[in-house]
């Protein structure tokens, strides 16, 4: 589904990603862990095309997307839930959701299905994005990404700053996506959450991958966890 092949990404002259390689198979949930500033978000931005790598390649469903504009990458089936508050504050909830719908595009997600799956959103449709709680905003950001009917969903620290109940709900959404065969690339600092939902885990530090394996292996290695993730 996704192959990131030895990418180097820069901000101006600052060399942030120093040779990142990773893969996500179809229907797999993969987590990227790492401390603040490790470069996790930059990996996501490199994939979606917001910050294109200078060296290396990104393949998505066997298409070389390294230098494609973001909207083409999104249309190939990459969904994005950015870090932090990302819904459009002056738009209503309905508009935030419909914005990502490309009308006739095939796929299972549409407004009716969204409302059936998340009934609480129904009464919020006419509220403005900025009038919602953090948890509601995050949920809408996820729904917005689902409306593009992605084959792979990237979530950048979706649990950041949210209450346990909402984190649990997001975990349920991720699991049900996996059941539907959607790949998930999850960036997290909440290790327990990542351990619960991920099939495989990459750990990043200072722009490099320092660990790659399954959650059990990582959980066992306490000194490593302490060193790279500060636990």
């Amino acid at each position: 589904m996704l192959v990131v092949d030895n990418i180097h990404t820069y901000y101006e002259e600052s060399h942030v990603l120093q040779g990142i390689s990773l893969q996500v198979e179809s229907g797999e949930t993969v987590a990227i862990l790492g401390r603040n500033g490790a470069g996790k978000s930059t990996v996501v931005k490199s994939i979606i095309g917001f910050q294109q790598p200078r060296i290396g390649r990104v393949l998505f469903s066997n298409v070389n997307i390294t230098h494609l504009p973001s909207y083409r990458i999104a249309r190939l089936g990459a969904g994005l839930v950015p870090q932090g508050q990302s819904i459009f504050p002056t738009l209503t909830v309905r508009e935030n959701i419909m914005l990502a719908s490309r009308g006739i595009q095939k796929g299972i997600w549409n407004l009716d299905r969204v409302l059936a799956t998340f009934p609480n959103l129904g009464e919020r449709l006419t509220h403005r994005g900025c009038d919602l709680s953090g948890g509601e905003q995050k949920l809408i950001a996820i729904v917005r990404a689902l409306m593009t009917n992605p084959r792979m969903l990237m979530l950048d620290e979706p649990s950041e700053g949210l209450a346990p109940l909402i984190i649990e709900e997001i975990g349920l959404i991720i699991r049900s996506l996996r059941d539907q065969g959607v790949s998930v690339l999850l960036v997290e600092q909440n290790l327990n959450f990542a351990f619960e939902v991920a099939d495989r885990i990459y750990v990043m530090s200072k722009g490099r991958i320092v660990f790659h394996g399954n959650p059990e292996e990582l959980r066992r290695d306490e000194t490593f966890l302490q060193f790279h993730l500060g636990l």
């Binding site: 504009p69 909207y71 999104a74 459009f88 002056t90 914005l99 490309r102 990404a145 593009t148």
Partner: protein, 289 residues
């Protein structure tokens, strides 16, 4: 009393012209964060192209359509070929230099093609003459300009509030780049917005020509007042452009009537006070960027 009514109407007429200008400037800024200093040049270019078309085909209405189309196409090409390379915060100086340079080049080309004397343009035959209005005689054309400005405003408002494109534009004001992550071809939106903004300027040029005539230097006069509108009204919202235009249009018209030496000073005084009290303009997008 008569002067008051006449000047209020004149103020409204000028406000509507400024509004069509400011709407374009504000639309462009809202999406691309670019202050287009060539905006007044597109006004003047539109006016001159309109004048040439009226002379050739003796049809004002044709000019009203064709001049914005031509200027909008030029805008599209400029955005596509050059401007899109210099978006982003660290390019602000480049944007200022580029659009100002464009204005200087346009001024020279206009002078070269149309000469440097004042060209007067007749109102279309259907809208000539005067009508009694609130106890005075007022030119039909000027009343038409007020109606026209309000109509454009209504069309823009519906377009922005009620259509999918408008929704994309409103989202783009907050974060245009993010939109592309959901499959929106934001580059195309940018080109379209720049074309639309310049076409609006040209439209204002054609509408304004029978009132203000055409002459070199008018481009910068209009630009400065349009900038005043968006400073006062706030950038990035149609409401700001509309109310700012009323304020500046009235201040300019009444200033020129009652304090001719201080008209421009009056404008700058209004601007300065707003900047001190509400730096993002009276109806701007406060604290959102």
């Amino acid at each position: 009393m008569e002067t008051l009514v006449i000047q209020t109407l004149n103020g409204l007429v000028f406000s509507m012209l400024l509004f069509v200008m400011a709407a374009g400037l504000s639309l462009i800024f809202g999406q691309m964060d670019v202050i287009n200093l060539a905006h007044g040049s597109f006004y003047l270019l539109g006016g001159y192209i309109g004048f040439t078309m009226i002379r050739q085909y003796e049809n004002y209405w044709l000019a009203l359509i064709i001049a914005p189309v031509i200027v909008g196409t030029i805008g599209f090409i400029i955005e596509y070929a050059i401007l899109r390379r210099i978006y982003g915060r660290h390019h602000h100086l480049n944007q200022v230099l580029f659009t100002f340079g464009l204005a200087l080049v346009a001024a020279d080309l206009i002078r070269w093609n149309w000469g440097s004397y004042v060209i007067t343009v007749a109102a279309p035959p259907q809208l000539q003459g005067q009508v009694p209005f609130l106890g005075i005689q007022f030119p039909v054309y000027r009343l038409a300009v007020i109606t026209f400005g309000l109509t454009i405003g209504a069309i823009l408002w519906i377009g922005i509030e009620r259509t999918r494109i408008g929704m994309i534009l409103r989202a783009g004001v907050s974060d245009a780049k993010l939109l592309s992550g959901f499959g929106v071809n934001i580059q195309l939106v940018f080109s379209g917005v720049f074309a639309m903004g310049t076409a609006l300027a040209a439209l204002a040029g054609v509408i304004g020509a029978p009132i203000h005539s055409l002459y070199p230097g008018l481009d910068f006069e209009i630009l400065i007042l349009t900038l005043a509108v968006v400073v006062v009204g706030g950038l990035g919202t149609l409401k700001g452009a509309f109310l700012g235009s009323l304020l500046i249009g009235m201040a300019d018209t009444f200033g020129k009537t009652f304090l001719p030496e201080f008209a421009l000073f009056l404008i700058f005084a209004v601007m300065a006070s707003v900047l001190i009290l509400r730096p993002s303009g009276l109806w701007g997008l406060r604290g959102q960027r």
